[in-house]
Amino acid sequence: MTFEEAQKELEGIVQRLETGEAPLDEALKLWERGEELYRFCKERLDAAEGTIEELASRAEAAKP
């Protein structure tokens, strides 16, 4: 799943929940799924460490 897929699904769930029309079972399932998606997105952001590498030096390092 890509970040934007997760974000889109999350926002869709919020929209569905905010109408308040979801029956109880569904609402709870949506909420669980939403939390899961939120954690996924958050982790993707936290996992990016911010590196700038030069391809040439990578190739250099790969040489025996």
């Binding site: 919020v14 990016a48 460490e49 911010g50 590498e53 040439a56 190739a59």
Partner: protein, 382 residues
């Protein structure tokens, strides 16, 4: 010129000189034409009557030796160096002493701006006809690329602009930079190679950035190989080459065209602050929405419960009403209403008297009226 052959029996044999003269004379009948190519191996000496160079076809590498009278060459005052593209006007000839074929140039022109533009226009039409620039080919950029590839020259400005824009907007961005030639005859091939290398390393999007330059400087970015490589790149490409008004063909083949390297940098990453805010809003919405759903569900339950509580009383009331109705109908049918209309019931010995013969004179009978009754004796019967 007559070419003499020596006869050995029935075999006609030419001397080398005669053969060369013959071919030379045949070649000299060919028309004078323009030939286009890149100058290489230019040799000029004040001791020679001619200057010599080789014309090379940039497409397939085919070569053609050219000679030109030195006086004419010098008079043109062309600054021709190796690698310069020219149009040579001349006719084919054979250097008879050595049997070498070459083009005898009478005039030489640098391949001008107009020619470049015309060639560019032809290539543009060809690639457009193939659908290489079609809008439906354009891919959306990933919102959050795991790694960004950057193809740039070692010219610091474009590279710095992209990196600054990227890291300002999204500090945790990962960028893999491929420095390469972005000018001169090796640039197109080098950029193609850099693109491929980045894709092999694994990137989600590629930025090709080069600062402004002269029309000729930017020509490699309209090279057919480079344009095709951009169109065929497995991940989306953002092109930021030259200034706003330049439109090298790579801009048309790229998925997104950025007016400057900074703009390209901002396009390939999301705004981290905005992203976090949006994510937090979603989460708040998630809680609010769930609560709202629960609340609604509870209200629905309450309503059902309330109706459930009302149900027995409702049932009782309905039964009562039905009973009243039945009682009303019962009353209509009872003899009492008949008595009220003035009829009387006569009983003798507790049995209702229905005929005169049922009683005897002097017998006591009971008479019941709507209101009370009385006892009586029978006078006579009929």
């Amino acid at each position: 010129m007559k070419v003499e052959a020596i006869e050995y029996g029935d075999r006609k044999v030419y001397s080398v000189g005669a053969f060369n003269r013959g071919v030379a004379s045949w070649l000299s009948r060919l028309p004078t034409v323009w030939v286009e190519g890149e100058v290489t191996e230019l040799r000029r000496s004040s001791r020679w009557a001619s200057v010599f160079f080789t014309l090379k076809d940039p497409e397939d590498g085919a070569c053609l030796s050219v000679s030109m009278p030195r006086g004419q060459f010098d008079a043109l005052r062309l600054e021709v160096a190796d690698g310069v593209r020219v149009h040579a006007y001349g006719r084919p000839e054979l250097f008879e002493a050595r049997g070498e074929f070459r083009l005898r140039a009478l005039s030489l022109e640098r391949f001008g701006l107009g020619d470049h533009l015309a060639a560019l226009e032809r290539l543009k039409s060809k690639l457009a006809a193939e659908g290489l620039f079609a809008a439906e080919r354009k891919r959306p950029l990933p919102l959050l690329p795991r790694r960004i590839g950057l193809v740039t020259g070692n010219d610091a400005a474009a590279k710095r602009d992209v990196l600054t824009a990227v890291t300002t907007r999204f500090p945790p961005a990962n960028v893999l930079v491929a420095e390469t030639y972005v000018q001169g005859p090796r640039a197109a091939g080098a950029v193609v190679e850099a693109l491929r290398a980045l894709c092999r390393e694994g990137v989600d999007v590629v930025v090709v950035a080069r600062g402004g330059g002269s029309f000729e400087d930017l020509l490699p970015f309209s090279d057919e190989r480079l344009v095709r490589a951009i169109a065929d790149c497995p991940v989306p490409v953002v092109s930021a080459v030259g200034h706003e008004q330049d439109t090298p063909l790579c801009d048309l083949a790229a998925d997104v065209r950025a007016s400057t390297p900074s703009v390209a940098g901002r396009l390939v990453v999301p705004d981290l602050a905005q992203l976090l805010e949006r994510l937090d809003r979603s989460r708040a919405g998630l809680e609010r929405g769930t609560r709202r759903s629960l609340e609604r569900e509870r209200q629905r339950l309450d309503r059902a419960h309330e109706r459930l509580g009302r149900a027995p009383r409702l049932h009782l009331e309905r039964s009562r009403a039905r009973l009243e109705q039945t009682a009303g109908r019962l009353r209509t049918l009872s003899p009492r209403s008949t008595l009220e209309r003035g009829y009387a019931i006569v009983r003798a010995q507790d049995a209702i008297v229905r005929s005169g013969g049922a009683v005897a004179p002097g017998e006591r009978v009971e008479v019941e009226l709507a209101d009370g009754g009385f006892g009586a004796r029978v006078e006579d019967t009929r």
